[in-house]
């Protein structure tokens, strides 16, 4: 039976090491299977977070050969035989132990986003939307909050700019901004509190998203365009002034 070698990160932020394990492989095996086999036979105290093993709960994010991935959706046979597969926790977040890190920062960022505030219901007590009103937004609701995009984004990962909310929340903000019923203006927050300007649209978030959400093209760039229209486009100011729109939220370039 063929064997695979895994080099797995073990330990805490203070003391750590890479441990190498060999496991028999079988058809259809994913990296999470290998980690479970190691847990079952060789290292019962190996910490790994997982839940659904179906790519839907978003718990099992880690870095495999340097790339942020869901362990349960990463097939072993895509890696060259004979070379160790390196498995590490997501680097962006504080480490708890082994492959598990503390992603609670994300929940704090999320709380600071103004929630949906729908416009009043119509006379018959309902809301009405057309399918083509929500076509754009549906993609964003596929997000499983695995935070792999947050992990890979160089703004936080390499430059330590934690006043950037990160791609996952750009996705949420885009869903809110393009929601046909919503009434809240979040553009100033987007620029200031969520720091959209930090993103330099280099698309690593899009590359790692296991739900294949076009984060950069469909969420971030449209939001950047809206922020540009609000704060950095003199022609748009004039246009809005002529039409008597949104004078209260207009702001000069700073």
């Amino acid at each position: 039976m063929a064997e695979a070698t895994l080099k797995i990160f073990r330990g805490t932020a203070e003391r750590s090491e890479y441990q190498t394990f060999s496991v028999p492989t079988y058809q259809g095996m994913v990296v999470l299977d290998a980690v479970h086999d190691i847990q079952a036979g060789q290292a019962p105290d190996l910490a790994v977070r997982w839940n659904c093993k179906a790519g839907k709960c978003g718990s099992c994010g880690a870095e495999v050969n340097g790339n942020p991935r869901l362990l349960c959706m990463t097939r072993m046979d895509q890696y060259p035989a004979g070379q160790p597969i390196v498995v590490e926790p997501m680097r962006r977040f504080p480490l708890i132990r082994d492959l598990v890190c503390d992603v609670s920062w994300n929940y704090e960022v999320n709380k600071r986003i103004k929630p949906l505030a729908p416009k009043p219901r119509e006379a018959d007590g309902t809301y009405r939307m057309q399918q083509y009103d929500i076509d754009r937004v549906q993609e964003f609701h596929k997000c499983i909050e695995c935070f792999l995009c947050q992990d890979v984004c160089h703004v936080m990962r390499d430059h330590g700019k934690y006043d950037f909310a990160g791609p996952r929340f750009m996705v949420r903000l885009a869903a809110l901004a393009m929601h046909p019923l919503d009434t809240v203006d979040r553009l100033r927050d987007l620029r200031d509190a969520q720091g959209i300007g930090y993103c330099n649209i280099t698309k690593c978030c899009t590359e790692v998203c296991p739900e294949s959400i076009s984060i950069t093209d469909n969420a971030i760039i449209p939001l950047k365009e809206r922020v540009a229209g609000e704060f950095y486009d003199p022609l748009a100011w004039i246009w809005r002034a002529l039409r008597g729109k949104k004078a209260d939220t207009r702001n000069p370039v700073h």
Binding site: R15, M129, D133, Y198, I201, D217, P222
Partner: protein, 249 residues
């Protein structure tokens, strides 16, 4: 079996990575491609000669402004439009931030250490992209006119290899321009509720058309970049007499 490290190096050093694939190929190829084009285009614009051959006009020089007060090559009167449009294009920004600025060189590869501000400080000027879009749209029309004019030789209607080269050039630049993210915003991206605004359905349809081109914006960026350079070179070589333009009809 274990190799001991003392603490977990959460942040990677410059160019450090655990990736085992050839991650450097893409930024290197991008950098070489962009550099080669910039060198050729700058030279081609400076020369100020051999930009016309029969009914063909090089796209570097179109529309052609021949004015007395301008001391340099006429190309510079027009090249700021496609130049600025591409420089501030969201795709090209990604390309050169990765290839030249190295922030980041590739995903999960350590970025170049720097005082990183993203597009918040000096790079705020990138927001001017939409202002380059407007003349770039006019340029699409002008390049189609050039392509049509390339059918009319001194001896009447005809088709030469150059005609086909110019038609392809207009098509490529149109496909690149129609996929622009600022255009996508302008035609319908800025609407929150299509069924609530005037012409909402039409705007949604327009948005879908731009989205169709936008999906391949990177591909069109490269194809059109290569082809516009090739078009100039072709017309240049015909004009210099190095090659002869084959008449098909």
């Amino acid at each position: 079996m274990s190799d001991t490290t003392t603490s977990y190096p959460a942040r990677l050093d410059f160019l450090e990575t655990q990736r085992q694939d050839n991650w450097w190929v893409a930024p290197l190829a991008t950098g070489v491609g962009l550099f080669a084009f910039i060198v050729y285009a700058t030279w081609g614009a400076f020369v100020g000669d051999h930009y016309q051959a029969g009914p063909y006009l090089s796209p570097f020089y179109s529309p052609l402004f021949l004015v007395d007060w301008w001391p340099l090559s006429p190309a510079f009167l027009i090249l700021w439009v496609p130049g600025g449009f591409r420089f501030t294009c969201y795709y090209y920004r990604k390309a050169y931030y990765r290839a030249f600025v190295l922030s980041p060189p590739a995903c999960s590869v350590g970025a170049r250490p720097q005082r990183y501000n993203g597009e918040r400080a000096i790079l705020l000027f990138q927001n001017l992209h939409r202002y380059f879009l407007y003349p770039a749209l006019a340029l699409v029309v002008i390049l189609w006119i050039d392509a049509i004019e390339a059918f009319f030789f001194s001896d009447g209607f005809g088709i030469g290899v150059g005609t086909i080269v110019l038609v392809i050039n207009a098509y490529c630049l149109m496909s690149f321009t129609f996929g622009c993210n600022s255009l996508r915003h302008l035609v319908g991206g800025n609407v929150d509720c299509y069924s609530c605004v005037k012409f909402g359905q039409q705007r949604f349809k327009a948005w879908k058309v731009v989205t169709f081109f936008n999906k391949n914006h990177m591909r069109w960026a490269w194809i059109s970049l290569f082809w516009v350079g090739f078009t100039d070179l072709y017309i240049r070589l015909v004009s210099m007499g190095v090659i002869t333009d084959l008449r098909i009809i």
